[in-house]
Every structure is written in C-alpha cells, then in structure tokens.
C-alpha cells in the first residue's frame, strides 16, 4: 500500500459525490486520474483492505428493526446456547466477550415489532434471559480509520 492507496482510503471514507463522473472528481482531488483510481479501488476491494464501497443504508429508516442484545451463559452451557442463538436468521452478528454478560449479538428484523418476538423465542429456546439494549440515541462519528 503506497501513499496514493492511503489517500484513496482516507478520502473515500467521507462523502462520495453524486454527479455524472464522481470518480473523476475524486481522482482530481487526489492528483490522479479516473482509470488509476478505479484500478486501485478494485485492488483494495479484492485484497480485502476495503470490505465494501457504495451507499450505506440505515436499517431502521428502511423500516426494519435492529438491536443489540446480551446474555449471561454459564461456560459449560455456552456452546449449546450459541448454536441455538446462531440458528435464528435474525441474528446477524454474535460475539463472545469477556464479561459476566458473555454473549453479545445484533438482531436485524423485517419490522421493529419482530424484535420482541425473536427475543422471546430465544429466551424460550435457551432458557436464559436476553437483555435487550436497543440504541436510544446514536452519536455522530467522524472519519474513523486513518490508513
């Protein structure tokens, strides 16, 4: 990764323009041309430096439900519960974390109402309490990763 790759990564985390030739606009800001920018962007996506490039949609504003939930599972029952939780298609991410609350997952549902239904089903199927932690407010975060 050279200086231009880093500049591309840092620049593209901000707002990409909506206009006829947006790559040309970005390329000229970076002192390069459209073809070189596209070639490098392809490479950064192919080699996994970037996981995605495009519009990022806001799940809740599209009408879906989204929440973070946590459970406290005894270590000797953890794998059984993880398998049950992961089998729910609404569970998008699930992480083991170092805390008394040791299982943390994101639920994404077609409608906000479905969140409660899925949580009740997980509690019923696993026998453990699910602590629902929906966001009450989201704070703006700026540019995050300097390459």
């Amino acid at each position: 990764m050279d200086a231009l790759d880093r500049a591309i990564i840092n620049n593209l985390q901000g707002g990409f323009p909506v206009c006829d030739e947006p790559y040309r606009e970005v390329a000229s800001q970076l002192g390069t041309n459209t073809n070189e920018l596209l070639r490098r962007l392809d490479t950064l996506l192919e080699n996994g430096t970037l996981s995605r490039f495009g519009p990022m949609y806001h799940a809740e504003r599209l009408g879906g439900g989204l929440t973070l939930a946590a459970m406290q599972i005894p270590p000797d029952d953890f794998e059984r519960v993880a398998a049950i939780v992961n089998a729910f298609p609404e569970v998008a991410h699930n992480y083991a974390r170092e805390h008394a609350l040791n299982m943390w997952f994101v639920l994404a549902t077609e409608t906000p109402e479905r969140i409660g239904v899925v949580i009740a089903a997980i509690e019923r199927d696993t026998g453990y309490t699910v602590h629902n932690m929906p966001k009450r407010e989201e704070f703006f975060v700026g540019l995050r990763f300097e390459a």
Binding site: T34, L50, R52, F53, G54, P55, H93, M103, F145
Partner: protein
C-alpha cells in the same frame, strides 16, 4: 443477510416512504457502487431509469438519512487495527447526549450509542467501540475518554471480543 429486511416498509411508518424505484436502487447498490467512470448511469441503465432520476433519488435518500453516506468501509483489521474493545460507561442520564457527542468525535471510535441500563447486571448507558493497533492503544484511548468525562464517569469497563460466533455480513445499517 438477505436484502429482505432492507426493503420491508411498514404501512404505518412515520419515516419517509420509499417507492418501488427507490427500492430497486437500494437492491441494485447494496452490494456496492459500480466501479466504472459513470456509476450512476450504469445503475440507471440496469434499472431502465434515467441517470438524473437515480442521482436525484440517491441525493434525497442522503438528505433524509436513509443513506448514511456513500463511501468505502475499510476492513479495520487489514489496516492494522487488530484490537477492538467495546468500552461502556455509566454516566448521568441528563448528560449522556452532550458526552456522547464528544466521545463520537474522537479518533478511532467507530460507533457511539446511548443504550438502556439493565440493573443490577448492567449499569452502563453509553457505548463506544474503540479500535487500536493493540490492546495498549485501546486502553490509552479509553483513558482519554475517561479524562474527557471527568467526574461524569461513574464507572466503566472494556469488553474485548474473544470469538466471533456468527457474522453473516449485515450490510445495512452498519
């Protein structure tokens, strides 16, 4: 995750409604923007729309917040940010808005949310995901947050993930 939840709309939603063409644009772009000189024209050609219409609808979705931003999502692990800690803070509810805005503005905080407490097991109401090249860097950033919060920090901890149990690539909502 499948695009299914992305295009579901509630009839009673108070959010701005999307029409069928907006939804087609969402489906066509949720795996990414075409990497050709005129990407919005390419989407338009694929959907049988005009480029002007596609750009106008994308611009409107940006303005209404349906699109957070158009841009790149770096794989922070590939950029060397190998330590990721979920820092959680117990701050006075009446100050959570003001403090959350300050923390969100710090470098390498990728998400910052106000969430409910679950007493007694969970006293924390402010979450900030902190990234660093190693745990020491995460701890240093957490220390900076603690300094910023001052006496509003009534207790905090950092939860490191020890294992990814499932990751199906939630594309929407980040």
């Amino acid at each position: 995750m499948t695009p299914r939840p992305a295009i579901a709309m509630r009839a009673d939603s108070t959010e701005p409604l999307l029409d069928a063409l907006d939804r087609q644009i969402i489906v066509a772009t949720q795996s990414g923007l075409p990497r050709v000189a005129r990407p919005y024209h390419a989407i338009a050609a694929q959907l049988g729309m005009t480029a002007e219409d596609v750009m106008c609808r994308l611009q409107r979705m940006l303005e209404t917040g349906i699109i957070r931003r158009i841009g790149a999502v770096p794989n922070h692990y590939a950029l060397g940010y190998k330590a990721n800690g979920m820092s959680v803070w117990d701050v006075p509810d009446e100050r959570v808005h003001e403090l959350g805005e300050k923390i969100g503005a710090l470098d390498a905080v990728s998400h910052c949310y106000h969430r409910p407490r679950h007493l007694p097991v969970w006293p924390y109401n402010l979450f900030a995901m902190v990234h660093g090249h190693d745990r020491a860097e995460v701890e240093a950033k957490v220390h900076r947050i603690a300094e910023l919060l001052g006496n509003a920090d009534r207790g905090h901890t950092v939860l490191y993930s020890t294992r990814i149990l499932k990751k199906t690539g939630l594309r929407l909502g980040g």
